[in-house]
Subunit: 463 residues, 2 copies
């Protein structure tokens, strides 16, 4: 029996304990954006370090300015095999609105589904604890069945991915020699659909901003000042409305100048994929694509820049009614940007656009919440094509090259700082409700995800 087959048998024999281990990790509420959960982030890092140590890795928890990194190296690989660095993140999003969760977010359960699959529930079940554990459990299976891994494996697990990875760049700079490998494997992306695996080769970047509009120097009574005094909620609404044209495009001057159109070959491939735009929106109760009217939904979410408002706050919002004109109003917004767009340039153009729409006696202030460029992976890479072949073998259907609307800024960091290309292999699904209440990871994602990594590791070792 090949080492690969032996490892797959081990996966089958131990899948239930693999699920238990994932649930242990989900129980640690490692919310990185909330300072109250800093200890939980440390606990999650230590838990992972202990797991990797038990598998024979040289593992350690490395402090940063905020939440620590976990770094682990396997020393037993045969000579001459490729060196891969696996990346995942153990931090999770906040859970509000908590009232909408059907089960407590940090008390995971295994919930059988009508189709015979099960859900593993909880915050981080999919993003990214379930995903990162697919790789660790694949390593466990190889070690259990064969004593060694087929590749030289290093692992980097981050605790700040959901807060724009402030420590990653300095950390990579300091550890460049230690972490440099032939390729970085990242498990934080979706399948094409529940039956079709995918490797993500295009990712949008992110530009996050918080804007605060201030008008009068105090709250005012609308009966006295209404009409004559500028209202920051109205000014903010005007600014936000001005950012999208009626056709769904972003209305900042020159915004599309640097946007590269989708290569015709990729557009053709995407048009053949079984993407159901109606079902995609219907899944969340919508039916009208809100982006550029002349672009298909798949391009809107993968290949076109977007602008979204994430939160607005200002004035009186409690029970009852108060005819106040507040002094200030705040919004958190972001752009997803695509190949060719520079985050700093987008940020500057956004700020200029906003400033030009604020009355002369009012002010607008900006605070930066992260920025990263989009990433496009070369489609002719031998590693990419070996990994696609391994996925096709496991899932018995052709693996797709996909785009994604989300940002994984670390891919840019690995490329820019360590010169490594990334293979983005993920087993999440569109309906996993990541960042939302009732996040879940399908047992089949987890199970076949572990099996997929076994096959990918074996296939990469052939090269």
């Amino acid at each position: 029996m090949s080492a690969e087959q032996a490892a797959l048998q081990s996966v089958e024999a131990t899948i239930d304990t693999s699920v238990e281990r994932l649930m242990d990790l989900i129980r640690i509420p490692s919310i990185s954006t909330d300072p109250a959960h800093a200890d939980d982030c440390r606990r999650a890092a230590q838990w992972l370090c202990d797991e990797l140590t038990s598998l024979g890795f040289d593992a350690s928890v490395r402090p940063t300015g905020q939440h620590p990194m976990v770094v682990a190296h396997d020393r037993d690989a045969p000579a001459g095999v490729p060196h891969v660095l696996f990346y995942g993140h153990y931090d999770v999003q906040p859970v509000d609105p908590i009232a909408l969760w059907q089960r407590p977010p940090f008390e995971p359960a295994r919930v059988p589904q009508p189709d015979g699959d099960s859900w593993i529930t909880g915050r981080g079940a999919s993003d990214d604890k379930g995903q990162l554990m697919t790789f660790i459990e694949a390593c466990r299976a190889f070690k259990a069945a064969n004593g060694t891994l087929p590749l030289k494996v290093s692992i980097l697990l981050e605790g700040e991915e959901e807060i724009a990875s402030p420590s990653l760049a300095p950390f990579l700079e300091a550890t460049a020699q230690e972490l440099k490998a032939d390729v970085v494997l990242v498990c934080d992306t979706d399948m094409w659909d529940k039956d079709t695996p995918a490797i993500t080769t295009m990712m949008r970047g992110l530009v996050g901003e918080e804007i605060t509009v201030t008008c009068a120097d105090r709250d005012l009574h609308s009966g006295i000042f209404g009409n004559a005094a500028a209202n920051p909620l109205q000014v903010l609404a005007n600014v936000l409305a001005s950012l999208r044209a009626p056709d769904g495009s972003i209305a900042i001057e020159g915004f599309y100048d640097d946007v590269k159109d989708l290569p015709e070959a990729v557009r053709a491939q995407w048009s053949r994929l079984p993407f159901d735009a109606e079902g995609f929106l219907g899944m969340v109760g919508l039916s009208q694509p809100a982006g550029e009217a002349d672009r298909p939904v798949i391009e809107q979410v993968w290949a076109r820049p977007s602008f979204e408002v994430h939160g607005i706050q200002g004035g009186f919002t409690g029970n009852g009614f108060k005819t106040v004109i507040p002094s200030t109003a705040m919004a958190k917004v972001s752009f997803r940007i695509v190949d060719g767009q520079d985050p700093d340039k987008v940020r500057a153009a956004f700020r200029d656009h906003c400033r030009a729409r604020v009355p002369a006696d009012c002010t607008i202030e900006f605070a930066e919440h992260g920025g990263s460029a989009a990433t496009v992976q070369p489609h002719d890479s031998p590693m990419l094509n070996r990994a696609l072949a391994a996925l096709t073998e496991e899932w018995q259907t052709e693996a797709a090259c996909a785009g994604t609307g989300g940002s994984i800024p670390i891919v840019t960091a690995f490329k820019d700082q360590l010169g490594m290309d990334a293979l983005l292999v993920g087993f999440a699904r569109f309906d996993n409700r990541i960042h939302s209440p009732n996040e879940k990871y399908d047992l089949s994602s987890y199970h076949k995800g572990i099996r997929s990594w076994v096959r990918i590791m074996a296939k990469l070792a052939e090269g």
Copy 2:
């Protein structure tokens, strides 16, 4: 010595205890919109009832569906004199944002000012506890000096003015015979400036609405759905922005059809008044009038309809950043409407305007927060002219007929239900910060306000 002179002497002798009594009333946190303060509203009503009883009124606290009314009648007036009904309200606005108060809002103080005047500080110091106490203290002075009042006086004090007076109409209907008088005196308005008294003869009405936009049936991750999924914060911003044209006018179709232009005589009078538009806006740190560009500021705030956003809430607004597309977003808004506009028609037009701007797969819901028409008082009324003469005598400068941007819906109720005209005599100032942190009432407003009512009562008794 005339009864009027004797009463004025009594005012002078007892002003300090009058201030103490007002501060006792301010100490009761009678916030009507907050159910947690229902007991405080009852306490304020009882306090006033006790004061009026001690002055010889037949006074009682009358329950309503929410906060009680105080009704009092003086039985000692000579025969054949006019019957006046005085109206005030003992409820106050909420105090948030509490952090901005320099003194606790319900611990009033008497704070000397550089110009020799003093401030009486606290929530309700001006609106409307200070104002209503000017009349009660004037009654006290007449009684103390002369044993009787020169008019037949009834008093109605409400506890729901700041929440759009839901109980007033049914209460007036039930007590029409009891409360009907020759005129209703209302003390809830401003002076022209600190030296110039005014009677308000034009008041805008109010249409309050709360709108909720719902798009997807759950919160979404902007990396996955951004661009394609409608964002309720963006939809809300678009709707709110669409309500004001770039020239500051309200952009609802047909909105100005029923708006009556200001009579030329009134416009001429206003242009002679010492209104300093620059100083009015400058007082709160602004300089650019935000209403209709072709209308002077005084018309914008008194005689033209306005639309204001009072609060917006939706999405993630805590510390940090969350790339969520929320499911819903909410705004509280109101219109101030003018002579000729029907609140129901304005509300319907607003809702139609909003609905037409919401994507077909999203919903918008509306909740009503009160509605009232504007009020215009006849300028040739003998009572009005006697009251103006009394004010001119007290302040030694010609009293003005003024407009006001605020709504006193009860004036409409008294007119429609009891057939009574109102005399709106108030001693507040533009800078009293009503509805805002650090509300205050000037001691001179209080002192000369009491004296003014003594003179008005005497003058009305002559007629």
